[in-house]
């Protein structure tokens, strides 16, 4: 969780919610959350949350690549 909030503090383009999955089960179902931490970005990108910072950024950049690249 900390990393997402750090990214939000660092960048004006990022906002980050910590969502307690047990309190909002309908969201956990919506995003098919089976284990935590689980990161959902812009509704569509899903990343396993408990990974090192460089790996998260690499996965994020990969997911943000335009489809034609």
């Amino acid at each position: 969780m900390r990393l997402a909030h750090k990214l939000a503090i660092e960048s004006d383009n990022v906002r980050a919610d910590a969502v307690e999955a047990m309190e909002f089960p309908q969201l956990a179902i919506k995003y098919n959350v089976r284990g935590v931490p689980r990161i959902v970005i812009n509704e569509t990108i899903q990343i396993e949350g408990a990974i090192p910072e460089p790996m998260l950024m690499a996965q994020l950049q990969e997911a943000l690549k335009p489809a034609d690249e």
Partner: protein, 142 residues
Amino acid sequence: MPLLQDKDKEVVETRFQEELVNPVRLVNFTQALECQFCAETRQLVEEVAALSDKIELEVYNFAIDKEKVEEYGVDKIPAIAIIGEKDYGVRYYGIPSGYEFSSLLEDIIDVSRREVELLPATREALAGITEPLHFQVFVTPT
């Protein structure tokens, strides 16, 4: 009954004294009915805010204070926004207990200091991202 034990309060109070730099606002959205953890969340932020004069607490009713709900973009409760010199987009939905409680404290300190520790490569990558990103990180109390 307090949620934070005296010894924990002492530890947090000392950290806040040493590490908080600029004022921070905790903005809590709550309501009395049909919200299982709203009362506890409110109590928790009240206890945290009482540990430093640099932390100011604002509490709004999710059902009534529509302007504030819109201003902070809150769509569910209990919610906590951590606001510094600006709104960085840092939110907690649900009670931050267990490991998330320490995350809350670290976030308060980061917002107060207006800086975070990140790898240089992360800052560089982040600077290259121009589209808005909305992270939702699902957690459970541990």
